[in-house]
Symmetry: D2
Subunit: 485 residues, 4 copies
């Protein structure tokens, strides 16, 4: 059974060459450095849970390549049920870690997209990408690695095409083609969970047009490949990661997002899965976002569950029962279940691709993206509403003050309510953490913007069909075409 | 193949004893009377479509009792896929008729609920309801009848239990038990599509407690049974049903809802499926509302499609292209697909009952009910926004004025825009009809109120589990129970 | 005191030449014909209330021309307090009539706009419009007449300018200039309250450009002027106006909107207030919409109060106390007070024009227009939610059925709840009437569309100022101009 | 002219005994310590602006006691116009500082409330609080001091009255009465701007009942009074306050909120304005919240302006013009102007108290509180939507990394877009700062919770009047009283 233990996972990260930085310092060991250890612990739960009877059915599945039990994060999605399990797993991971474990899930979406795209390229162009990809995939399953997915380029001026930019590096591109591989330069930015990843799956972040061949490139590299410099970004209240105590209440979960700078990085041929095929970049983005935007409903619902739970906890420590907030709690549940359900429906209404992969419904997955970009914010507001002033902006003295020898006893005396001061503080800190602190994921723009999703919705909503249905009902015999067309 | 043709269906209605009234008059023939013919035509589409290659896969299915091809409206729902087809069929029927064909769908939900409940009663109590029910069902499938579902009692003072009411008739009940059947008295109110129905399936509308045995009664009767007096209710702009011309633009679709008065109606034993088993009334309501509240997302989406189409049509007749309204159209589509998708997800996450029926997920179906009670109203507002002042309240002269010999030419001259005055008028009338006219269905309270759904949501939302997940994340070791418990 | 009594008002309408039609029939007497008498009764309340100690302070004011007590509907708005009284009066009129009395209020806005515009034209161009206007106004005050305001042209293809239309009549225009006046042709459509008006104030509905002089025309005419043909439009459930009984529950209130066809109508010089001055048409629309969009918040709040009251009444007849719906009621009140308050604020933040008129704040009045186009719909949904299924679509048998000799006793027996069947029916019919029946005003597009208001908001929102404030705060020294400018 | 300069203000703070702590350290000088200097600088703008011709009319007014020009923050509000200036000043202060300057505004509301309450107590009880208060006020105006307002007690179990709490200190109370004053014990928590204040105005935070006399106490004390220990709370990303560079982009603005522990603090008689008069505590809370909840609309609008400006700035640095986001910008403006306008309307519809103070309309000010607790969150979401992924969670490398010698050039190269990397970073950091960073004010629970406001709304919304209006319109002759009453 090719499943790593938690300890083996930590070891695998320690074995990588240090190339991640934050605050102008090199992080020698991501498993212990305060800037990264929380996210590593969070990803560690994907390994612990795979061995836990309660969770393993959600975390693992059977490889369609080898028949072995593998991590679901390395599997090819082949049915609606696989997608339901995807939503369930993401919701569970938020339950276990409080936040996003993006160092496995975007990579999973990327490899699923490339499973289809390599198949299509080989089918149409006679290339040999698909078997090459399968070989890598089988090996990846065997090694049970964690894989970040890297799409977003630096992009420069948003109104210009790649070739019009003042610096060609604004989009990652091939600078040299060799017999044994290629050399690439550029950057991938805002890449989630890189600190917890063993490898990085790089795919084009947008649809490139003819003439932009050098940008149409997809590959996987070890995170510690030569020429790759990684800088972690900040997140809200990130300095608390360096503190001890409960002001950052979650220890086994955390988000990191990084900027990846590729300075002439070599990619060997056997890890190269697209090189110049611009025609396939648009559909490949689609193959990426469909399962991603379907299943992210599970993420948002999972964190929404914690917003509910932590808001109730805070209220209870104040002495207030849930019934006082029942309408708000119902609305929070509606929000959670809506993003969850629209994702499930996108899977249920999907269809099989000839390569064996399951394609989610594109209209519904993009509708879900818009919900994911709005509903969790309303849920956060409701959590703060229920939990009161101390949770709204985390309006409490620090952990250090809480234990001050001079006046800590005053804080503890006066923060006590129905329950102890510490229980109140921890509960309220958790609300703060997941509504405006370190636990807030980038669910609005992560995996693409809501405005981008709206373009998909417009494209897939069959307006002309609806016009014709209505024209018949209204008894209009005239043709009523779109003006100007 | 036990499928009636459209003509056979009309004939079957003509053959019934007239017992429906409106405006203090007896309706002799529901297929021709202006108050009922539009809804009959709408239901007629369920027969036409069953013979249409384009639609028949959606409208028919295989009987699990006989293996014959039957109307889907008479089938037992046995899988998630059956439920998807349910949603699709309902959306299609709104496309074909513009509105609700409730004279088949509530009956379908009722018979599916009683399929399960008769099984459970027999299993637990040793009764013989289930085979009796199956016998009736097989016959109903063979006759391809339309069946209204009747749940809502008169109810009297809403804060009192049935037995506390000043008049015991406020809830339909048994007044006499005979060897060959029972006699019932009371009323069922706001019953949809009765004019288009052959039979009426009566089930308890609420959970009755011990002591209320006489109210726990379920049965099917022919619509023209002796002792049953039916009065149609009004709906918005219902007097236009009597007019000719396009002020009521839809001719093959329409809603009716009726009050049914049972004055000592005899129900023969072979059509009696519950009699006194109060314990099963609560779960039976649940079995009714779960598929109903899941699939109503298809209804609302179907009418939403028409709101989109008719709003675009009106704008086009004014000369305006869709891109002017693109954000509004995207929002309308999001609303439509949300109710549709949450219903689909409720089916996808359902499970099999031991009797073979498919149970939708109760949390998701009730979440959908709340969406159905809110989102279509927003969609209506957007349709009126796009379509402009003439659609907002149907602010145009009447059809008679349109064709006035004195000044009709002025109306036609000045209502002309990018397209003819008639096309503009018809398009705007369709917007009016489905946003505040005769096509507005009772989607908020039909099949139960949103407040009722919120009670289900609260019950199924597992708050304590969410509290525990959050307590672990926050590192709180104290127990934090609900205050006052 | 130049105030007409209610009886004198009716008499003044009876004395006009009949020229209003509906359903291809001439309405001989608007005070008694079912299509118009409800709106006449509603407007009649403006006269009754002027003599009622409780209301007269709201309905009357002092003429700044003569010092006499006049109807507020004929006064020039000269202070913020005058505008507050405007909002209060509109809210009161909805309380008294249930709906819009637009046959006085749009005319009032029109005459206030022309008070300013005639002043500005005389000031800039040396014309004598202002004294001419004042002379008419003093006479109008003396006669205490009701005046409809007519802005909206037929407009033809919305993407074309007036001069590009295939028919020049699509915008009302001068066809002949004489020494003693002008002759006009065209149409004004969707004109509110014409049936209850003595005169009609016609002003340009849009900003005309140079070259479109013939369309830049403003004047007042008696409603029964030669050459003017009027056709009343339909409104939801308008056929109920012809019925007796409580299915249309409101007898002293109702909306009418009409199409006015001008076939070479002569306007004498002393009633002509603009003729060719295109440059002033844009600002004049602004002067019209500012007080209109401010005070319409009072209208919408007034009807919202009735939605609250009728929803509570219906619930109480069902036996349910308000506390069950307290959150919904609070939200309804918030919606009402928001439209009311933003209108008040628009007045409070206004300023004095040099001619003495009070100018409301244009940003706030247009913000209010958007609220008026959205919030009352949410309030309607909440009213239907509270009032239940019988109110949602008025799902009850007709008044005729209610009193049927054959089965009326059954309806009355079963519709009884905590209160009598009739009280329940009347309460629910009132909810129906003001949420999707005859009482629904055209508040979304009346007085201009929300999209038009958004253009104003964009124009008045000083984005560059906000950018500069933010640039300073962010410490950005670079200039950051709008791209492409 | 009793107006301090900015320098005199700083000096006045330096002269106070240090008694504020954070992170278990005593803050020796609030004007230089990183935890407090930003908020001091922000409050410093209230002094600078008072001397700036552009702003001084907004920041200063005439004392009604002495006729001298004083800070508006020390004035008694005597007219609607004074309240408009209040809203304007608050909006301006957010423009100048980016966030809340609560160390003057809550104190201002407190002293205005006590102006009325001392008057009422003297009038009813024959006490001499009012002249005592006026004497202090005149002196405070002369010294031009900054005054925090302190209402919120520790409160303990929220379901218990003060006298039922396990610790009587949970509400601040009198422990000793002396001839020359009183001694108090307890805590006031979440007190805004204490670091920037010279004095603290303490008033009861809730309505106390008979028997709770010891809690009914109001007074002003110097911030550095003996026995007062102050601990600053955390706020989002507060550790960035200690950093240099632009990751916390705003240097002259910042929020602090503190816990104040009173360990037997002596209050001299001349600073004591209530002592035991429980009957006046409820109305005094009302007098506090009415102007506070009206004017907070200006605060929220002011920060909303910055959300608009910083979102546009970020988009522009990406190359995107505002028109791409025009609907979102319009909605943001609507949100801003709504909270601003409802506050203005609350003032406009206010009335004069017999003591000379202006009372805002309680219904409208509480409606505004609910808007303030919801609309700014939607505005924040829209700002993040427009500004993109880097702003959503501030997803950029730190300032230190930006200037790293090793790889800073890569960050600067790849963050460049239409404008420089630094301009992009600063703009996006400002969005982050005011949507989920250090600039987020506690606008939901600050000054009381939205649920509390809803109770006021319910109380002031005159439901019975609305029921009666509707009963008349519906023609219902039966009385329809509230069930159960």
């Amino acid at each position: 059974m090719p499943l790593k233990t938690y300890e083996q996972y930590l070891e695998s990260l320690k074995n990588l060459r240090p190339n991640i930085h934050k605050f102008d310092q090199l992080i020698e060991d991501v498993t212990t450095h305060p800037a990264t250890k929380r996210t590593v612990e969070g990803h560690g739960w994907t390994f612990k849970a795979a061995f836990d009877d309660k969770y393993k059915k959600t975390l693992t599945t059977e490889s369609h390549l080898t028949g072995k039990t593998i991590s679901r994060y390395l599997s090819i999605i082949q049915s609606a049920e696989d997608m339901y399990a995807n939503s369930d797993m993401k919701r569970l991971m938020f339950h276990l870690t409080g936040t996003c474990t993006g160092g496995r899930c975007a990579g999973w979406s990327a490899l699923n997209a490339m499973f289809i795209t390599t198949f299509e390229m080989d089918r149409d162009l006679g290339t040999d990408y698909h078997p090459r990809f399968l070989k890598w995939l089988e090996d990846a399953q065997e090694r049970d690695i964690t894989i970040s997915g890297a799409l977003t380029d630096a992009k420069g001026d948003r109104t210009k095409a790649p070739s019009q930019q003042e610096d060609e590096d604004f989009f990652l591109h091939v600078v040299e083609k060799r017999d044994d591989g290629i050399v690439v330069r550029g950057a991938k930015v805002m890449i989630c969970g890189i600190a917890a990843a063993n490898e990085v799956f790089v795919i084009p972040g947008t649809a490139f047009k003819e003439g932009d061949e050098k940008y149409a490139v997809a590959f996987v590299i070890p995170k510690d490949v030569e020429g790759l410099t990684i800088v972690e970004t900040r997140h809200p209240s990130d300095k608390r990661d360096e503190e001890s105590g409960f002001d950052n209440p979650v220890t086994e979960g955390g988000i990191t997002q990084a900027y990846l700078f590729f300075e002439d990085v070599f990619v060997p041929k056997e890890r190269l899965f697209m090189c110049g095929e611009t025609k396939y970049t648009g559909s490949n983005v689609g193959y990426f976002v469909m399962p991603y935007r379907a299943a992210i409903g599970g993420c948002v619902a999972g964190q929404g569950d914690i917003k509910i739970g932590s808001a109730i906890l805070t209220a209870r420590t104040n002495g207030l029962p849930s019934k006082v907030f029942k309408d708000k709690l119902v609305q929070m549940n509606i929000n959670n279940e809506t993003t969850f359900a629209v994702g499930i429906a996108s899977a249920a209404r999907g269809k099989k691709h000839e390569c064996g992969a399951w394609l989610c419904d594109p209209l519904l997955s993009n509708v879900n993206k818009v919900h994911v970009a709005t509903l969790p914010y309303e849920t956060s507001v409701l959590a703060q509403d229920i939990a009161g002033g101390i949770a709204e902006t985390g309006c409490m003295p620090s952990y250090q003050d809480f234990h001050s020898e001079k006046y800590g006893h005053l804080i503890q005396k006066y923060m006590k309510a129905k329950h102890s001061a510490e229980a109140r503080a921890r509960a309220a800190r958790l609300v703060e953490w997941c509504t405006l602190g370190g636990g807030v994921p980038g669910c609005m723009h992560g995996g693409g913007s809501p405005d981008g999703a709206k373009l998909f919705i417009k494209a897939y909503s069959e307006l002309e069909k609806k016009v014709e249905i209505s024209r018949r009902l209204a008894g209009i015999s005239e043709e009523i075409p779109e003006p100007g067309k």
